[in-house]
Each structure stands twice: as C-alpha cells, then as structure tokens.
C-alpha cells in the first residue's frame, strides 16, 4: 500500500481549522503538497462534487481538513431485523484512500474527499463524557474504522499515538483500530495494553486483488498483524465481506491457513464474519465506478432489511465453511461472531443463539473462551 504522503495531491484547509495542532502536524508531514484555504466549505464541497465525473475517485487523492461539527461517537448503525453487537464507532475520518468496489462509503458519504476532523480536543471531551457515563457498566467495544480506515492515514495524522495512550487509561472500553493497511510504524513505537485491539479486514487473495483497489495483499496484512502481536498487542480479524467468486473455498481456506500459521490464537480478541450485503442504491454506483468487477453478478435477494444479500443457502454455505476452517485452524476458543445476521444464521453457523445484542456484547468483551451466551 502506498504511503498517503505520496498519493495525496492537494490539501484543502477549512479556514476555521488552521490553528489545530493536528492541522499543523499534517501540513508539516505533507509539506510541498499544494494547499488551498477554503472560506466557504459548503459551496466548496458542492462544487467539488458537481464538477467531476468521478468525485469519489478524485477525492481519494485530496485531503480535506475540517472540524467534526456533530458527534464523534455514534452507535454502530447495524441494520434493521438482524442482530447487532452494540459497537460504538468513533468517526475521526471520513473516506479512505483505498478504493474497494463494495465499499458502502461510496453511497453513504456526500462528501467525497479524504476528510480528517482535526478538532481532536473536542473528541477527548466527548470520550470523557461518554466513558464517564458508563462507569460501573460492562466494557464497551469502541473503535474507529467505520467511515474510514483506522490506519491508512496514520503516517500523516499519527492518531494512533494519541488514541492508544488515551484508551490505555480507560479499561472500561475495549478499543479497536480496524484497517486493511500495513501502516503500523507508529504502533511499533507504542506500549500495548490489554484493552487495545488492532484488527485487520481479510479477504480471499483474488478478492483483495480485484476488488480492494490500493489495499496491500492479504499476506502483507497478516504479516503486519504478526508484527503488532509481537509488539504485545492483541489483534482481531474481519472476514467481511465474504464474497462468492470462482475458487472462493480455496481462497478463504488459504488465508485461514496463513493466519493460523502466523498468529497465535490466544492473541486474537475476536473474528467477525459477514457475507456481502449492500443497499440497492449502491448497486448502480458499483456498476458505474467498477464496471469490470464481477461481484454484482452473484445471486442476491432483498433481505429483511431491504439490502441485497446473497441468497440464504449460499450465505450459509460461505459462513459455515469459513467458520469451520477458522475453528480447525485456530481452535474453538477464539470468539467468532456474525455481523448483521439473523438468529437463525447464528444458530446454523456458530451453533449459538444469542438472546440479543447485549448477549453478543458480553460474549465479545469477556476474556477469550470464558463466555457462553446466557
């Protein structure tokens, strides 16, 4: 994966944000990159989108430094009619320099630029208040990586160097950084903590190559995970989205073999599995932006939430196959969970039927292997 310092062609600066330390740090890291100060962000963003054939593609090479005007913290939206896990997301960045064909952000974000919210002091205040309210409750799973990759911009933002020390002081939170990148340089200089989890999204090599534009090969992601584990961190993996393609069984089995050979299972906090799903409106964007991707031509149905999903028997086959290979390779103690699936699929794939979201949260925050559903 390319260094973001090399791929960013222009920095747009919200005139109201020039004095934040993070703004100054990024400008220093990217010194020499052309800059433009924006007085009227609303008009600027509208015009940026209007004038381009592929604003999303162009936006991946342009950095927008601005303020988070809303809340940094949001409950993970999950999806109606399927089981969630009460995850809390921290929206520090919007968008991602990678260009995955299936990425939901292509639909969700009206702002196409790589956006970094630089008002970090507001983040700490919001986190303090949120975690303060949870004192005495169970551990909360919280992480970045919902609306952007947690580490893709880390070489220039160095957010990991602030977030990890913060959460080390807050054991009531189980903090996850989630990435496809291999930008672990900063992590290797930080002391680990039991409540910090560095997670990688993994996929079959053919999917990584054809549908995860700009992302490093899966073997490099696993190697990055190994080095982070060596540094003392716990890790996690997300096989999400699982994608049907010719040779998918061998593809996923091969990745799981690599994973099992290189990562000790007792250092894995959890592994999630989720089959490809997307809102209908994303289909047209995918077809337009990635006309060569074959991903859209599998058999999809409209799920209970209205999203396109693989036809249930196909979904079950993929989830069951992957879960079994993971059990064989890593043992039965590593907590596996399903993202946005029904109780039926949980029961049929993992032979567990959570009573609800709280149950799943408890399962994932307990020490590995010690928890069963209530």
């Amino acid at each position: 994966m390319n260094d973001p310092a090399l791929t960013i062609e222009r920095i747009f600066l919200d005139a109201a944000c020039l004095d934040y330390p993070l703004t100054r740090r990024i400008r220093e890291r990217l010194s020499g990159t052309p800059e433009e100060i924006v007085q009227d962000p609303k008009t600027f963003l509208e015009e940026y989108r209007q004038k381009r054939t592929d604003p999303l593609g162009d936006g991946k090479r342009a950095l927008w430094l601005t303020r988070q005007k809303g809340d940094f913290l949001k409950p993970c939206p999950c999806t109606p009619h399927y089981l969630g896990c009460r995850y809390v997301t921290i929206n520090l960045d919007l968008n991602c320099p990678l260009d995955c064909t299936y990425c939901i952000l292509q639909l969700y974000l009206s702002n196409p630029l790589l956006t970094v919210f630089v008002n970090t002091p507001d983040l700490w205040l919001e986190l303090d208040a949120f975690l303060g309210r949870r004192q005495g409750g169970g551990q909360v799973r919280i992480g970045t990586g919902e609306l952007g990759d947690s580490l893709a911009l880390d070489p220039i933002t160095e957010r990991s160097r602030e977030l990890i020390p913060y959460f080390r002081q807050h054991p009531e939170a189980l903090f996850e950084l989630k990435t496809k990148s291999t930008h672990i340089q900063n992590l290797l200089t930080i002391d680990p903590a039991p409540n910090i989890v560095i997670a990688w999204s993994l996929n079959a090599p053919a999917v990584a190559q054809e549908d995860e534009g700009g992302a490093p090969p899966v073997s490099e992601r696993i190697e990055a995970a190994r080095r982070v584990v060596e540094q003392g961190f716990r890790t996690a993996f997300h096989f999400d989205p699982l994608i049907r393609h010719p040779g998918w069984k061998e593809g996923y089995a091969g990745v799981i073999r690599q994973l099992s050979a290189r990562i000790p299972s007792d250092r894995i906090a959890w592994i999630s599995l989720g089959a490809l799903r997307f809102p209908p409106a994303l289909k047209e964007i995918m077809a337009q932006r990635h006309p060569d991707s074959r991903l859209l031509y599998e058999e999809f149905i409209r799920g209970l939430d209205g999203k396109f999903r693989y036809f249930k028997p196909h979904r079950l086959e993929m989830l069951f196959f992957t879960a079994e290979r993971l059990r064989e390779g890593l043992g039965r103690e590593v907590p596996l969970y399903l993202c946005m699936e029904s109780s039926e699929i949980w029961r049929r794939v993992l032979k567990k039927e959570p009573a609800g979201e709280e149950d799943i949260e408890g399962y994932l925050t307990s020490p590995a292997g010690l928890c069963q559903f209530t």
Partner: protein, 318 residues
C-alpha cells in the same frame, strides 16, 4: 432588440440552430392565433443577411398556415449564437415542460455554441430541473447522440434518468433489438429488464445479443398471438430465472410441495420473501364461525399429512 412587423415567409425556417422543440405539431396554436391573434411575438436573429428563428417555431408555422402577414416580431442583431440560444432556452423552460430529448438537445447545442462545461453544470442543468453533476451532463449528452428514430421514441416515452442510464449501457444495435419489448413495459420493469439482461450477460460471460438468442426467447417471440407487452413480460420472467437460478429452483420445489398437498382455494401458504426468514405464513379468510371452524379442521388435516413436512425441506439437502 428591435420590434417590427414582417411577412413570416421571409423567415428562413431551414436554419434551425436555435430550435428547442422536438415536436413538429402546431395544430393547437392555429385555433388560438385565429381567435386571439399572435400575442407573443417570436424572436428572430439576422445571420448572413437572412432572418432566422430564435424562438417561436410553432407560432410562425401556425401564422404561415393561417396566411397571416405581417406578424409582429423581435429582431436581435447583436448577440452571438450562444447568447441567442440562452434566450430560446429561457423562453421554452418558462412556458412548458421539456422532454428528456429536448433537454439533451439544449445541452448539446449549448456545448456546440461554446458554453463552458461549468456553465452547463451550474446554470443549465438546474434550469432544466436536472441535478447539477457531471454524471448527469454526460448522460444527457449521450441522449443527444442517439439516432433520430431512437430519440423520437425516448421523446415520446420520456423515461426516467435511471432507465436512460441502464439503456445507454447497451450498444445502439442492442438497444434497437430491445425496442419492440422495452417500451411496452412500465418504467420500473423497463429498468429491471435492462439491468437483468446486462447482469445475465455478465454472469454467463456472453453478449446481450447472445442472451437474447436463447431458444426460449426465440420461441417466445415466435408466438404471434402474444401482444408485445406479453412477450416483454415473458422475456423478463425468463431473464429473472436465468439471473437467479437457485431462487428459481427453490421456488419450484416449494410450489411443487404445495401442489402435492392440493391446497384448496382460499388458503394461501407462502415462504418468507426470498426464503430469507424461517417462517412460513398462512392466510385464509372466512365469513362465519362455522366456516372458520371448517377451515381449521381442513388445515388440521393438511398438517397431519406426511407431505406437509416437504414444505420445510431444504431443496439442497435432497
């Protein structure tokens, strides 16, 4: 701009560079001009010594048909083509709803007259009621590039942008092949037909033309007693089956199991939509307590039959 009176025969109608209207019909104007006279003078321009029309095509043709002369006109002598065309566009957009083909023509001509892309996106697209993005500009410029016969159909049918987008994914020859069926359907099904055809072609790694050459489609087209709309519906059913073979197979197995049970009319047993949920649903109606109890007794008998369990079988386990 000069106001004057001229004989409509002096106007060179062959030069239609500013024409926005796609339709030739002016019959509705003849009656109104006969009764009330020409209330809104056309706008003309002078080019190489000729008088050409900027706006008022239908009005001038109606006046000619009524042999009216002279007629009041405005003549603009100083503005360039782009400025004059803007007058034509404003006059048309303020007085009537334009079709997709007319909007496409406006954008294409404005571009031809040298309007910068930024102006087309930021000024013309919103004026035409189109979202101001490059994507929409390109879509409408593609419509302007269609052949006259196809443009005529698009003008009449005035499809949605989503249908147009789906249509333009096909080559002109493929679009011509689809023409007898496509436009007989409603807009949702037009879009479904186009997208499903494209997806079947991609799934099977063949061209859309090869998809349409399937023997079942040839048979269907050969059935002369079917109306084009019925042919289109059957084509769509056929494509849906090819697009979703597993779902089709499951539906057939379920329908077969229902058929074996011979469920009487008035009782409906259905799987969850697309077999996504585990539950089956039952629907029946009744008019009295007696009928209700009778239906329940019949349902009880149905449930007691061994074949009833076939409704819950996973077809892939067989």
């Amino acid at each position: 701009m000069k106001f004057t009176q001229i004989d409509p025969g002096e106007i060179d109608l062959a030069d239609d560079r500013f024409r926005v209207s796609f339709s030739d019909s002016f019959d509705e104007l003849v009656g109104s001009i006969r009764d009330l006279g020409l209330l809104n003078p056309p706008v003309l321009a002078k080019r190489e010594g000729r008088l050409i029309l900027v706006s008022g095509w239908k009005r001038v043709r109606a006046c000619r048909a009524l042999l009216l002369s002279p007629i009041p006109v405005f003549v603009e002598e100083e503005k360039d083509d782009l400025e004059l065309f803007r007058i034509a566009v404003y006059e048309n957009t303020s007085s009537r709803t334009l079709s997709i083909v007319e909007k496409a023509g406006i954008l294409s001509r404005q571009q031809g007259f040298g309007a910068p892309q930024d102006e087309l996106i930021r000024r013309t697209l919103p004026l035409l009621g189109i979202p101001p993005t490059m994507e929409y500009l390109q879509l409408f410029l593609s419509v302007a590039g269609m052949d006259p016969e196809e443009k005529k159909i698009v003008h009449e049918k005035d499809p949605t942008a989503a249908v147009l987008q789906a249509l333009l994914a096909f080559s002109p020859a493929e679009r011509a092949r689809l023409r007898p069926w496509l436009w007989t359907l409603g807009q949702n099904k037009q879009k479904e037909l186009l997208n499903t055809l494209r997806e079947v072609a991609a799934r099977e790694s063949i061209s859309p033309e090869q998809v349409l050459a399937h023997p079942r489609i040839r048979e269907l087209v050969a059935e002369e007693q079917l109306l084009p709309r019925q042919q289109a519906e059957r084509l769509l059913d056929h494509l849906r089956e090819r697009r979703n073979p597993s779902l089709t197979a499951w539906s057939r197995v379920f329908d077969g199991a229902l058929q074996k049970l011979g469920i009487e009319k008035g009782i409906v047993i259905a799987p969850s939509p697309f077999f996504e949920g585990e539950d089956l649903s039952l629907h029946f109606s009744f008019r009295s307590r007696e009928e209700f109890l009778e239906r329940l007794a019949r349902l009880k008998n149905l449930g007691d039959r061994a074949e009833f369990c076939d409704l819950f079988k996973d077809p892939e386990d067989e």
